[in-house]
Subunit: 337 residues, 2 copies
DNA sequence: CTTGGCACTCGGGAACACCGAGTGCCAGAC
DNA sequence: GTCTGGCACTCGGTGTTCCCGAGTGCCAAG
């Protein structure tokens, strides 16, 4: 039985605990929020909430602290995403507008998010498999080597050096380049393997070995980048917050691309604002932390995700507002470029 | 007056303090190292060393701790760089050998160094101004836009999107590309501005506005990257070590490209192994840390620097050995590619 | 110059008492 | 039935005191 007042009490507990970082007691609650009832009544409610697992006592005779389950209820039913102030929105806009290329967009985004939320920001590079080929370039470096550059419509550039078995002159390179571009231009990266499967047969016999070498490198570069690149910033913000779990574990997780990847990405719905609270998180070592993430991408299609990581005890409405806003602005920027 | 025995005492103090992280007293010294004299004698020596500023007492009636000046003397005169073990060398080699491009080399290097030294590793991307142009590519994106790509001999790729005022067809792009490459191929980046200064005049009048736009972007991309890119890894290693100064300051410094840059780069001699100890370091907030850095680069020429940052109380011989070894191997890898 | 002896210092840990915020429970009021 | 004031109880955190021992400086003798 969870009536309205109990929910109000839970909300008050979460809010107070988030702002003070100290277990909150019945008396303080009655004073700071006008719930219209006495501390004793609140105590009764708290006893019920505790029994149901929404709050807990660090030890007897201390105030209550929200549990992960309590935060979850708070996020789901008791709070609203808090929109940013006008000044903040303008700051985001002007800060992101100055970006010169994709790297720059990502770097600015992650810093912005870290600064805005005063927490650790994490940004995944746009997933290559959702992008399309905009151009393929072959650049001869010397007789036996050429550099292969793949440019996608998200502005991403993949480069590889290809070692060739035989000498190849500029004309043949130009021809290969033309064939490749004709074949791949505008084609989704996911379908590249299909498109190039029969390509060698359509070339003069002499060019086939070279083409095969290049294609293998091309395909490899696609697979390779399946381990998506992820960057983070704002680690300094961890220093202030004291984690129940060691700071070391958190820092280690942050440097593990794979872990970060799954933190952001392991969700079915890319577009929604997802919140993962404390133990909902699959990784030990990140038990005391929550993740707020959102998808972003150009043209309505979600390409990748970004988010922040902070202590479970975070201001969810504000954090969610910041993440959502940044995701939207980045999407705009990407769509425009 | 610093006789040999006093130096031996200082060395013993540094070694013991580094390994135990506790102020070291005269008795312990006499036991652990066979200096052939009694604790009382050592006390006298210690009193002299303290007076000269090489060691200090955290408080009366505690052991001695090396000062920055003491570490400096130790590094300069009392220790030798410790070579890596064969196993470590092989590990480095095989780990770096798998790199596919410049980004990958840098990323692997920084991780390797962090793991090897158990400290924070910092790697600067090869300085573009020491590189040469290998190829310039212009890729039409649509009628009003083209992507400009600059490839250097260090494998670095700079890309910019150029917005044009007028429609430009493929033939004119091809022509421009040819002219640009003819003019710039093999030319050092530093001399690019000179080389292109009179280029517009050598083109047909109709192409001049377009060329000017492209060139301005080109020049800007050179200047822009003067704020060199720097990456770090191993922040988790900071969690263990307790700094006299706050961990937060260190993390903040690490995320400030400019600060890192100067930490690594502010030295005249690129090739030497440089060590900056505690307060020798210009930045408050990094007082309790030391930096060990070395230059690296392909073909005997130093292109950039790499190093590690750790508590002043670090094992200098081992750290220096690791930094030197990694710098050498990276140079080899770069030279080969 | 080195050494053993000796008195002195002082940080850090253990033991202890105390305070007060906070709780649970109960009887009475609305 | 629900709320409220009262009351006894708990217990973490803080401040105090005390003591120990590592370490020192100094001095006189070898």
């Amino acid at each position: 039985m969870v009536d309205d007042r109990k929910l109000a009490v839970l909300r008050a507990i979460v809010e107070d605990y988030v702002s003070t970082n100290e277990p909150v007691g019945s008396k303080a609650l009655a004073e700071r929020h006008n719930l219209g009832v006495s501390p004793a009544t609140i105590r009764n409610d708290m006893a019920v909430l505790e029994e149901q697992g929404y709050i807990a006592q660090p030890h007897t005779s201390a105030g209550r602290v929200p549990t992960d389950k309590g935060y979850r209820l708070f996020v789901d039913r008791l709070s609203q995403v808090k929109p940013l102030s006008g000044a903040e929105r303008r700051a985001i806009e002007s800060f992101l507008a100055g970006a010169v290329d994709l790297d720059d967009v990502v770097m600015r985004t992650v810093r912005l998010l870290a600064q805005l939320t005063r927490q650790v920001a994490v940004v995944q590079y746009p997933t290559i498999s959702n992008s399309k080929v905009r151009h393929v370039e072959l650049v001869p470096l010397n007789e036996h080597r050429l550099m292969f550059v793949l440019i996608t419509n998200t502005g991403r550039v993949e480069q590889r050096v290809v070692e060739l078995q035989e000498v190849i002159d500029d004309n043949r390179v130009a021809h290969l380049r033309a064939v490749l571009n004709a074949c791949l231009d505008g084609c989704g990266l996911a379908s590249v393997p299909d498109m190039v499967a029969d390509l060698p047969e359509r070339l003069p016999a002499e060019d086939r070995p070279v083409a095969a070498t290049i294609l293998s490198v091309l395909l490899e570069s696609l697979v390779d980048r399946h381990d998506e690149k992820i960057v983070f910033a704002g680690a300094a913000n961890l220093a202030g917050a004291d984690f129940t779990v060691g700071l070391r574990d958190v820092l280690e997780a942050l440097e593990e691309q794979v872990v970060l990847m799954r933190l952001l990405g392991e969700t079915s719905d890319l577009s929604a604002l997802t919140v993962r609270i404390g133990s909902e998180n699959p990784y030990t070592g990140l038990q005391g932390t929550s993740i707020v993430a959102a998808g972003y991408g150009s043209g309505g299609k979600q390409l990748a995700r970004l988010g922040v990581l902070g202590p479970t005890r975070m201001d969810y409405p504000v954090t969610m507002g910041a993440v959502r806003a940044v995701a939207r602005y980045v999407s705009q920027i990407l769509a425009a470029s």
